[in-house]
């Protein structure tokens, strides 16, 4: 999906500043290396430099840590609370036998929470380019695109249908998860780059898309997904049946939402969990979450499942709704039991109903949280069967000239971090199209480095879980606006930051200096230093494998397998001839033109 980012372009340039010992590389082999060796950054759709910000936090440079995040993901305080954390699944610390992944997300939250009040934002600016862009929607994708375009010198106007900016961040995520004060501050920080925003403007209703397009050099639709999906079963229109999105949005808007005592939520995503937990906060006594498949296949985080259950929510799996029943007001839902069937080619497990298994579960409110789709905005260009404009996933262009799509509007429901990434990449594409040149690019920065103060014993620090409000009853006070995850204390954040292996460090044995004493191998924490006969490379030239040998006569080199290396530094410490060098490799964004102001 991120091929666009990984492909550095046609020119392979390598520049080096000998004095500072820093060089920048666009060599595909280095990109391949980064992909394998800093797996967390690779897993982040926005390519956040995770080891770097964790290290900054360890050094108690909270603001720096926050800024390293903000450079690429723009909303660290927000993401530190609600990110889906694809990085943690790839964290090397979580590999078998190495323990638990680093709590990357909550360290981000800590950076945001712990930076001082005096922290001032620093955003590089380019000279005005004299082009205008309209962005429909101020959700994560729209905000991200606006930020990047404004930074690059474009004149940006956002059109927002709701009263306040933020989109799903503001209206789709409950307060107990994301306090609005955090969100508002981060949005304000984006808008302050000189972005104009018009709220309460419904494009396609109050204003036609065509009229906007005629007034701006380019138009980007990042209007998200606001069309609730329906199950297509009888009884969905009964009183007491809500769609998940409407339920969450009504609560977020501060409307007076009434909910029954016995609530059933049907759905398996974050929205379904939000609905369940909100229902409890609105006074429901018994909340059951019904899913079609298996609990282990839920795409929410494990923490989320545990916290929901701890609050008293029951999860019932292998249930497929057949119909909602009741006379006027809902009384319950009839279900089939389901059974898993052979996985099809796709990665998700499929289920099928067991006929004859029908039974009824009673409820006085039913929330259908099964997802949503983009709303139709009339306009030019190619459209899907629902009349929604479509665009190319790779370059964001619709078939209409200078009309672009980004975020969930383009791809269907995704995560906040994916939307931010999508918005930023779309902005890059728009800028490139309007100006005919690239303004920035991703490069691998290589620096000389030294062993850090990391100690091997830090690898054994247990993962510090985020403190939550307890006892559970206290969460339901103040209308349920209490933020559940209270956040790390400084010392907890510090402890957790110590756990990061700092995979950006690169260890290499100089074969010309190595005396093959094997001390490093004897002291290795795992199978990370290898006696090899041959080294294989992939098509980019990056190391892809080793031909290992146990015969001394066949050993051609002692090598560090960086994909196994946990950067503990033992090898460097025990090497009697000092033949192991350390360097630091960062995947960073580099501007191709000069900034004008800081």
């Amino acid at each position: 999906m991120q091929e666009g980012l990984w492909n550095p372009g046609k020119t392979i340039s390598q520049t080096q500043n000998w004095k500072s010992g820093v060089s920048y590389s666009c060599d595909p082999a280095d990109f391949s290396y980064m992909k394998v060796n800093v797996p967390c950054q690779d897993a982040c759709p926005a390519l956040t430099n995770i080891p770097s910000y964790i290290r900054a936090l360890y050094e108690e440079k909270f603001a720096t840590s926050y800024e390293i995040n903000r450079m690429v993901n723009l909303l660290p305080g927000t993401l530190g609370r609600i990110c889906s954390r694809p990085c943690e699944l790839k964290c090397r610390h979580g590999e078998a036998g190495l323990g638990e992944p680093v709590n990357i997300c909550h360290i981000k939250k800590a950076a945001s929470d712990l930076r001082g009040l005096g922290h001032s934002y620093m955003t590089p600016r380019f000279a005005p380019v004299g082009k205008t862009v309209a962005i429909v929607g101020s959700g994560p994708a729209g905000l991200a695109a606006a930020h990047d375009l404004a930074m690059m010198g474009f004149d940006v106007t956002i059109l927002e249908a709701f009263e306040e900016p933020g989109g799903m961040l503001r209206y789709g995520i409950p307060e107990f998860r994301l306090p609005r004060i955090i969100l508002s501050e981060e949005i304000a920080n984006i808008l302050r780059l000189g972005i104009s925003i018009k709220t309460g403007v419904r494009v396609g209703v109050d204003l036609t898309l065509e009229s906007i397009m005629s007034n701006y050099d380019a138009t980007l639709i990042a209007a998200g997904c606001y069309e609730p999906m329906e199950l297509g079963i009888p009884g969905e229109d009964l009183l007491g049946v809500y769609t998940g999105l409407n339920f969450v949005m009504d609560v977020a808007k501060g409307l007076d939402v009434r909910i029954g005592k016995k609530v059933m939520v049907i759905g398996a995503g974050f929205t379904a969990f939000d609905c369940s937990r909100l229902a409890l906060r609105l006074g429901a006594e018994d909340v059951t979450l019904c899913i079609r498949g298996l609990e282990e296949d839920l795409r929410v985080t494990t923490d989320e499942i545990v916290e929901a259950k701890r609050e008293g929510i029951r999860i019932q799996s292998l249930l497929l709704s057949k119909g909602v029943y009741g006379g006027g007001h809902v009384k319950g839902v009839e279900f089939f039991r389901t059974r898993p069937v052979e996985r099809s080619s796709e990665s998700r497990r499929a289920v099928e109903p067991i006929f004859g298994s029908e039974f009824v579960l009673e409820a006085d409110s039913v929330i259908l949280a099964i997802g949503q789709a983009p709303q139709r905005i009339p306009g030019p260009g190619k459209q899907n069967d629902r009349g929604v404009i479509i665009a190319d996933f790779g370059n964001f262009r619709s078939t209409a000239t200078n009309l672009y799509l980004a975020g969930d509007y383009l791809t269907g429901p995704s995560t906040v971090i994916e939307s931010i990434s999508s918005g930023r990449r779309a902005a890059g594409k728009i800028a490139e199209d309007l100006l005919g040149k690239k303004l920035k690019e991703w490069v691998v920065r290589i620096k000389d480095a030294k062993l850090t103060d990391r100690q091997r014993s830090w690898d054994l620090i247990p993962r510090v879980e985020i403190p939550t409000v307890l006892p559970v009853e206290d969460r339901f006070q103040s209308k349920g606006f209490v933020e559940v995850e209270t956040g790390y204390l400084p010392e907890q954040a510090h402890d957790e930051s110590k756990r990061c292996y700092l995979c950006y460090l690169h260890y290499e044995i100089d074969v010309n200096k190595c005396i093959y004493c094997r001390y490093c191998i004897d002291n290795a924490p795992r199978d990370c230093i290898k006696l090899v006969n041959d080294i294989f490379t992939d098509e980019t030239g990056a190391v892809s494998g080793y031909l290992e040998t146990t015969q001394w006569t066949e050993v051609s080199a002692v090598v560090i397998d960086n994909s196994q290396c946990v950067r503990c530094g033992e090898c460097v410490r025990v090497c009697p001839v000092d033949c192991i060098s350390v360097s630091r490799m960062d995947l960073v964004e580099r501007f191709l033109i000069e900034e004008t102001e800081a």
Binding site: G97, Q455, R456, S457, D459, L460, D522, N523, A524, P525, R526, D527
Partner: protein, 591 residues
């Protein structure tokens, strides 16, 4: 009060700190006033890597033999420890690293071959050491901590011995090791809280006099120092080298000298020279080196010059099995060499005897003016026991040279005939006593003479001297005996501990068996041995050699043939083998 008889093994690769852990267990349990007998085995190769195993048997009563079945195994390398599984008790406790650096396949795992009754204690040795002390190098100490916690041994015992062992390397090393130990101890205390055994916690110590942990070789070295040794000459050879190492460290401090010679021939020659000049001198070697010495040993016999020679036996012949134990030099010690060259041969059976026998050997050599050979073996040399601190009395240290009377001055005859065969010996430089020393047959004055009368008489004199020595030699000692025995077991050297234990066990079951220990191999107290053989319906002689060398020496003393039990496995004689053999003999008797 509960009795304890507990055997623990530590197994790992060279470099894992296996021997260190075994040593700490021995020291700590000794400090806890238990009786301890330990034995390590190293890789056979002098260079390179291999398996190390330590075996420590710990008892509330005196331990005389090695433990055969381990009640606990501390595995520092699981692949190596697989070899120990046949030697584990059914319900053995096994301590292993539950978080090794790499994955292990079933065919290399220790746990996959353990019996179902084994009680396993997985402790992340390396990780705990890393957390506690910053380095995985303390993992052996972590393992030790786990062992102490689970077995209910006071950690203070270990803390004290760790402090002592590493004290010379500085406070930092001590603290790192203590931290690793404590980490293993605390971890096991909490993780295995409901599986902790109290094997040692309610055992009262047998509280004998202050004990020290000594190996056979150390005891030999100590005895030599206490005996006032002036000169040590030697050439390194396993398993005798540690004696030289010990003396190199301590002998110069009290004015003596240790000289590494070019070979064993010059070593024994120098020893003879030392005694010739009136100083106490000693050498130690093993079978191959001893063979080189034999010609000069007979020179000592002929010239009547004292010498003290340790023959630390190992598997033979020739280079043989350098790191394995055997009792196959008895023939060589008693008979080796040209001519009728009778000399004194004694064999200690335990560490304490190593000390007292060596002490005594100097007096024997001086008094009887002949080489004294002390036969030890790899097992006795290297095993450690916590013995009651040995102490030599002034009398035991005293010089036993028989100097000529002042009255014989100017008419001194170096080889004067006497009823005992002992001729007073002058030291070169004693005024008025013309000294001679010759390897040629000689007259009383020391003048070469090959006449039939002289050779006959002198040969007889030299043998008479040895018979006289019997009064100074330790008599055979009966253990657990009676007026008549169904089976009488006779043994010598390091095997005797196993014999005593086997006999003890069988007597407890009501069998009429007894044991006789022979410490003086030559000359023999034939009458005592004969009596013991006569009152035994069957006589059994277990030895770690193929030929039955002691049986050959004493078998003729009684008319009935002796039963032999000969093992050449390179390992110490197992108690159970002796027990089994006696049991078989009893069954035959009963028919």
């Amino acid at each position: 009060m509960t009795e304890v008889d507990f055997t623990v093994e530590v197994c790992g690769m060279a470099g894992d700190g296996t021997i260190a852990v075994g040593g700490l267990i021995n020291e700590a349990m000794s400090l806890g006033a238990f009786s301890v007998l330990g034995f390590d085995s190293y890789p056979a190769e002098i260079r390179g890597f291999g398996r190390c195993v330590t075996n420590s048997r710990i008892g509330s009563s005196e331990i005389v033999a090695l433990g055969e079945q381990a009640h606990a195994l501390i595995s520092l390398n699981d692949e190596q420890s697989r070899s120990r599984v046949p030697f584990l008790a059914e319900d053995c406790m096994v301590f292993f690293d539950s978080a090794p650096p790499t994955k292990v396949t079933e065919d290399k795992s220790l746990l996959s071959v353990l019996p179902p009754g084994a009680q396993i204690f997985g402790i992340p040795f390396g990780n705990l050491a890393v957390s506690a002390a910053g380095s995985a190098r303390g993992r052996n100490l972590t393992a030790l901590g786990g062992f102490a916690a689970v077995c209910g041994i006071s950690p203070d015992l270990f803390r004290e011995v760790i402090g002592k062992k590493f004290g010379s390397k500085g406070d930092h090393i001590v603290s790192v090791n203590l931290k690793s130990f404590d980490a293993g101890y605390e971890y096991s205390k909490s993780v295995f809280a409901n599986r902790l055994g109290n094997i040692f916690s309610d055992v009262e110590s047998n509280a004998a006099s202050p004990r020290v942990m000594l190996s056979g070789n150390q005891a030999i070295g100590m005895a030599a120092i206490d005996a006032g040794l002036k000169l040590y000459f030697g050439y390194p050879i396993t398993p005798a080298t540690p004696i030289m190492e010990y003396l190199a460290k301590y002998l110069p401090k009290q004015g003596g000298r240790v000289v590494q010679m070019e070979d064993e021939i010059s070593s024994i020659a120098a020893v003879l020279g030392g005694f010739y000049a009136g100083a106490r001198a000693m050498t130690a070697t093993s079978g191959p080196g001893f063979a080189l010495m034999t010609e000069l040993i007979t020179h000592g016999v002929m010239a009547e010059i004292p010498a003290v020679i340790i023959d630390a036996q190992r598997g033979g012949p020739s280079t043989g099995l350098p790191t394995k134990t055997e009792q196959s030099d008895l023939h060589a010690a008693v008979f080796g060499g040209p001519g009728d060259s009778a000399r004194i041969v004694i064999a200690p059976t335990n560490v304490s005897e190593c000390y007292y026998f060596v002490l005594k050997s100097f007096q024997l050599a001086e008094k009887y003016q002949t080489p004294v050979i002390i036969l030890t073996d790899f097992f006795l040399d290297n095993r450690v026991e916590n013995v009651v601190a040995p102490k030599a009395s002034e009398e035991q240290k005293a010089c036993s040279n028989v100097f000529p009377e002042e009255s014989s001055k100017d008419n001194y005859q170096r080889y004067h005939y006497s009823s005992s065969g002992i001729s007073p010996r002058a030291i070169p430089g004693m005024e008025g006593f013309n000294f001679t020393a010759t390897g040629l047959e000689h007259t009383e004055k020391g003048i070469p003479d090959y006449s039939p009368e002289t050779h006959s008489r002198m040969t007889e004199k030299r043998h008479q001297k040895l018979f006289s020595a019997l009064v100074d030699l330790k008599e055979p000692e009966e253990f657990l005996s009676g007026d008549s025995l169904d089976v009488g077991v006779i043994g010598w050297g390091s095997t005797f501990g196993s014999i005593v234990e086997a006999v003890q066990r069988l007597r407890k079951s009501g069998f009429s068996v007894g044991a006789l220990k022979i410490s003086s191999i030559f000359p023999l107290h034939s009458e005592i041995i004969r009596k013991f053989m006569a009152k035994s319906t069957v006589v059994l002689i277990p030895e770690l050699n193929y030929e039955g060398q002691l049986a050959n020496l004493i078998g003729h003393l009684d008319s009935k043939p002796v039963e032999r039990l000969n093992l050449v496995t390179g390992t110490p004689m197992p108690t159970s083998v002796i027990q089994e053999r006696i049991y078989q003999l009893m069954e035959v008797l009963a028919q």
